[in-house]
Symmetry: C2
């Protein structure tokens, strides 16, 4: 079942984050939130998310879904396939929302964003309880891949299966919590840590800033890629987790954490903690901090993508699923060899693409052209490839992070060991940004010496040359620096 439109009941930090993720994937949303400020707040979340998505995925982005604001729940849920509930964590409020939604839509899947209320509780009063699932996301919902899926006793099992596919298609990592338990998995772990942090604040052992440093400079760097179990499996040395349990298990019985109770959230205590958080933020507003957080999340996920690990794997899968297969190349004219967004890490502190990245873009164009003439990954696997021996670039115009660029390529020479290419790199609006001329030589990867290409590539090149030799020699080809 594909979804073209979803209703969002509640448009705060979580509902707004869902809105961003859904419209980014081309799904329309209708939003109901009684807060008179809801539309302004939601638009701010959407703007922040748009800024992050510009940097996150390097492929072309799909057309965005539309956002409409509704004045009743009935209006919002009419005709949608999915109802996402992100209202406060009070059972009676949630049940009231479901009752109103159910009166207007009897078939849509109802997905609660609850952080810990059991779906069996949530669905108890529904006329069609089988369609309620928990799909618990994490802030910022538009960036973090984790979504916990939980079924209640009456949930139709096939809806969980559907949800696994659906949320994965949004670039998320669905985690099916197989046993229904309050707080599910992630929040139980987070709450344990938070409870301890609140005690350390209450007892004035440390400030908010010190507690955060105790995570972000140490264990937190591990947790971005491996959970506690795998981390400690490695900390146990050659004996692994068994060694770790033998070594540190006894400490768990020592008074190293406050177990018994929760500090009373008196006004004074809340104020003290709030003030410490303000102090920690210093001159940075919440909006500033959100941008910093998002930039860091993007950079961390991209770093993990390069290493093909964890959240980076989810991002890579998302990118490749969303990438539209290019049409077969037509060599009667210039061929399109690059189609991408300028990523955030390709730019200098002014936001312009750095000099060096122009060659990265041309190198991508060269790789794509090589694929088109049969010198693809399988061919390289056989121990043959082309190496660039000479490059000439004309730097013509500037481009910024998040802007779309493309390249077109002409094969000037493609015979024997030689492959001479000319690329034009352009902004999506057609502006010429740079040209790249490249001489490549066919090599054996084993000997690192030159050799003739295999017949499959030589034939394809002959075919390409028959067409491309009809094109005029590009303006600037054969140009040298300092020579008139």
């Amino acid at each position: 079942m594909t979804i073209s439109k979803a209703a969002l009941i509640g448009g705060g930090v979580i509902g707004g984050g869902w809105a961003a993720r859904l419209i980014e994937n081309g799904i329309d949303v209708s939003v109901y939130d009684p807060d008179p400020e809801a539309e302004r707040k939601l638009n701010e979340v959407l703007a922040g998310a748009d800024r992050a998505y510009e940097k996150l995925t390097h492929g072309p982005r799909p057309s965005k879904g539309a956002v409409s604001f509704c004045s009743t729940i009935a209006e919002a849920v009419a005709g949608v396939g999915l109802i996402v509930e992100s209202v406060p964590e009070r059972l009676e409020i949630k049940r009231k929302v479901y009752a109103e939604a159910e009166a207007a839509n009897t078939t849509a899947i109802i997905a609660s964003s609850t952080s810990g209320i059991m779906p069996t509780e949530l669905q108890a009063e529904l006329a069609h309880p089988g369609r309620l699932i928990v799909a618990h996301p994490f802030n910022p919902v538009y960036l973090l891949p984790l979504v916990e899926l939980v079924a209640g006793e009456k949930t139709d099992a096939q809806h969980i299966e559907w949800a696994k596919d659906f949320y994965a298609s949004l670039g998320m990592h669905p985690l099916h919590c197989r046993v229904e338990i309050e707080g599910f998995l992630s929040d139980r772990l987070q709450e344990a840590l938070w409870r301890e942090a609140l005690w350390l604040l209450k007892d004035e052992v440390a400030t908010a800033e010190e507690l955060d440093a105790a995570i972000a400079y140490g264990p937190g760097l591990r947790w971005a890629q491996m959970g506690t179990m795998q981390t400690f499996h490695l900390a146990g040395g050659e004996a692994g987790m068994r060694g770790m349990l033998a070594m540190f298990g006894p400490c768990l019985k020592w008074p190293w954490t406050k177990l018994m109770d929760v500090p009373d959230l008196t006004d004074e205590f809340v104020e003290m903690v709030g003030e410490q958080c303000d102090t920690q933020a210093g001159d940075l507003t919440a909006r500033d901090l959100e941008k910093i957080r998002d930039d860091n999340l993007v950079a961390i996920m991209q770093a993990l993508k390069n290493n093909d690990w964890g959240a980076g794997k989810a991002l890579a899968a998302y990118e490749s699923a969303k990438r539209i297969a290019p049409p077969p190349p037509d060599f009667s004219g210039l061929v399109r060899t690059v189609d991408r967004i300028v990523p955030g890490d390709w730019t200098d502190y002014n936001g312009h693409m750095t000099e060096g990245r122009y060659l990265t873009a041309f190198s991508e164009a060269t790789d794509r052209l090589m694929e088109m003439i049969g010198a693809d990954a399988d061919y390289i696997e056989t121990g043959l490839s082309y190496f660039t021996v000479e490059t000439h670039i004309q730097h013509i115009d500037e481009v910024r992070a998040g802007e779309a660029i493309y390249a077109e390529t002409q094969v000037i020479e493609g015979k024997g060991k030689k492959l001479r290419l000319f690329h034009w790199l352009r902004h999506a609006d057609g502006r010429l940004l740079a040209t790249g001329e490249h001489m490549l030589i066919h090599v054996s990867l084993e000997s690192r010496g030159t050799c003739e290409p295999e017949v499959v590539v030589a034939d394809k090149l002959a075919e390409v040359m028959a067409l491309q030799s009809k094109l005029p020699l590009p303006d600037g080809a054969g140009r040298a620096i300092g020579v008139k």
Copy 2:
């Protein structure tokens, strides 16, 4: 007080990690560990750390300190300024080590790596208790910046001040735990989470792999850059932490975590957890996982360095502190403009520097040359700069991540608006890797149009040209692709 040699008592995962961090910073270490396998195990940690350091810092690395193995504690501690104790978490073992060390060295600072025993307990039987501090690191010690510093009741306060400077000089982020408490700060938070995780395993609610996914795809990505307090401050929307406490504070009273007790670490339970960790690792050995973890940590810290945040800030500070100021340029010959290690993210899946990064290296050389002629950051701040308009590269040889490279530069033309440069990029062993010829034009950053440089730059360029015009025109200058 600077330290030229340290003794390491205990050379396991933690002691080995200390050894790596110390020798990387030019400090000799003498190691005592009664394990007959100690030398092999420590050398494996050192090899892993060396591999990580190749990729971590981009500046030239200092000369390494030496490692010597000793057969007694007395031998190891003789004449050192710092004794690092990393033996098992049993008070009687630690006190025995201190007694032996004290008999042979009465002045060195004793730094315990304990994860949670109070320094007041550790120092109770010392003849010179003032010199004992806790300096608690995190695995892998050679990469994670966090080190918790804790004083006991009898600790000399000036040793904590010294330790802050000393560990910062090793590239670490010292966190002074101002109130002495068992488990300090970071482990109390970690243990709370781990205890909950063990319960979820014990109750068979989830597997080790599921629990890790519940962290690494969600909260863990936040914790690599912000702790729980700042994260929840942002999750509270416009109401911040105060709103978060109002919203989720009540949940802390709900039965969302197991508080009361610790699961009994029966043989069966330990075996069950150990097996789940093995399953999770699949075909990957502990060594494989360590390499993956280290690559991810390096990539995450470099990503954060680009964003000037958290652990990345510590890395940047370390790099700039370690960078040796270059000698003033001598333009009577070629000038040295690049001196760096090829970072891990500059290479393809085969470990070779990618085509595009050759231009990144040349771009760094150009920036450095611009600084030398007075077109530095302050000059650019005034709204003037040089833009590259044309580039010609000869790709000659390959280079791998972790290898040292340098560039030398000749100014071919430097008059009026024009600046024509020729760079030779070489491997540290002298092999020529590539040449880069670049034409730059002086521009106004406001109008984005060309203009004459200021007198300060024009004069410096005239001075440089008077010297460099005596050099022969570089082989390959003015060369064009496809033109004989």
